[in-house]
Symmetry: C2
Subunit: 206 residues, 2 copies
DNA sequence: GCGCCATGTAAGCGGCGCATACTTTCGTGT
DNA sequence: ACACGAAAGTATGCGCCGCTTACATGGCGC
């Protein structure tokens, strides 16, 4: 039954194999031919499901943004009883945690692509969905009157930039000097930087 | 004379060709063979100067970090008469400007590599040199007593993360929604976010 | 002036992305 | 029930790639 001519769910099998290869050897070691081999199929078969290699990478990135969206959504509901400011901060930490948990996927999602949103409508939609959490959380803080004279848009940009910067720099090994104690997960750095940012913005807004 | 058997400076010619290809078609369209062709040399010749393709990429990244170091150094001397806080802010803007001016190079320098610093001692040294400006500038601000209770290390991390995040997100086309007027260079975004950050931190520190 | 060795060339291996032409199977309409 | 067309997988081949090995060239120190 595993030897049937038609695979049945080759598209998913290819994406799974590609996900493994991505985690194992990075984007450089990801080939359609090898993914086909892992799925037990000839090297030309993938082209029945993906126009070209970029289409598979786009699908992978789309899945990544959906996973990020789910992770941020989970944080949002899990921290339902916290203050808006704390919810925003936890969202930022979760963003970094996602990147650290799946470094190669995170790198694929950002960078390595042109204007990522051009590749497919599904990707663009997933990008929008995952990117909506931070602005919403900042809006919630604003409604509490905790932003003072700062513009909502600017604070959103600031928050996003900080967590994305921390994630990127950590993945590239540039933040080892900022880690303390034995903690080398990178999450500690994210905790500290988000606390400092929250302290600065909220106390500056009286 | 251009037809001599020994090129004379093939290593530099290869790096120049690779730099062009990087800017033209991104890292995906960068091949040793094509670089050799552009340098007017056989396809095996590059291996006399670079152990493998990664060695060339490492050399390219090293040059990038040296260029970044030079750019930041230039800002530091050009803004010699400004206040320490303003010097720090301009340093951050220059960081983003560098990334926008050479997007493919910036992407190569960060990401696409493992722990970048492992590849060669020269690279590690260039990374350290380019990374020393921000901490020094934050130190200068601290000496003015403008950091209040914030830890120097945390502020450095915050500043670096913000500008790196802005640069990365802008290159990936995620910040178009944050741009205003006709300005689409991305520098305007960097100006705004750095001003907001400076305002938040300095006013929070009384 | 001569020989060494760095520098370049030629040719070839296996892997890759992708296109084309062919084969097998599934599902559907009568 | 069954033919048949479309969907899904195979076989083969092209050109490019990274990299290796064996060989050719010529600049430089002795």
């Amino acid at each position: 039954m595993t030897e049937r001519y038609h695979h049945g769910d080759l598209r998913d099998a290819l994406l799974a194999a590609a996900t493994d290869m991505l985690a194992e050897t990075g984007p450089r070691g990801l080939s359609l031919r090898e993914a086909a081999r892992r799925a037990g199929v000839s090297t030309g078969a993938p082209y029945r499901h993906f126009k070209d290699k970029d289409a598979l990478l786009t699908a992978l990135a789309t899945r990544g943004f959906l996973a990020l969206d789910a992770a941020l959504r989970a944080v949002d509901t899990a921290a339902a009883d916290a203050t808006p400011l704390e919810r925003l901060r936890r969202l930022g930490v979760a963003y970094v945690e996602f990147a650290i948990a799946q470094p190669a996927l995170f790198r694929l999602m950002f960078g390595e692509f042109g204007p990522a949103t051009d590749a497919s409508e599904e990707l663009a939609q997933a990008v929008r969905a995952s990117g909506a959490h931070l602005p919403a959380a900042v809006e919630a803080v604003r409604r509490e009157g905790l932003l003072g004279d700062f513009e909502t848009e600017d604070v959103t940009l600031l928050a996003w930039s900080v967590v994305h910067g921390v994630a990127s720099l950590y993945l590239d090994g540039h933040l080892h000097a900022f880690e303390r104690d034995g903690e080398s997960s990178g999450v500690g750095v994210a905790e500290r930087v988000t606390r400092v940012l929250v302290a600065a913005v909220s106390s500056a807004a009286h």
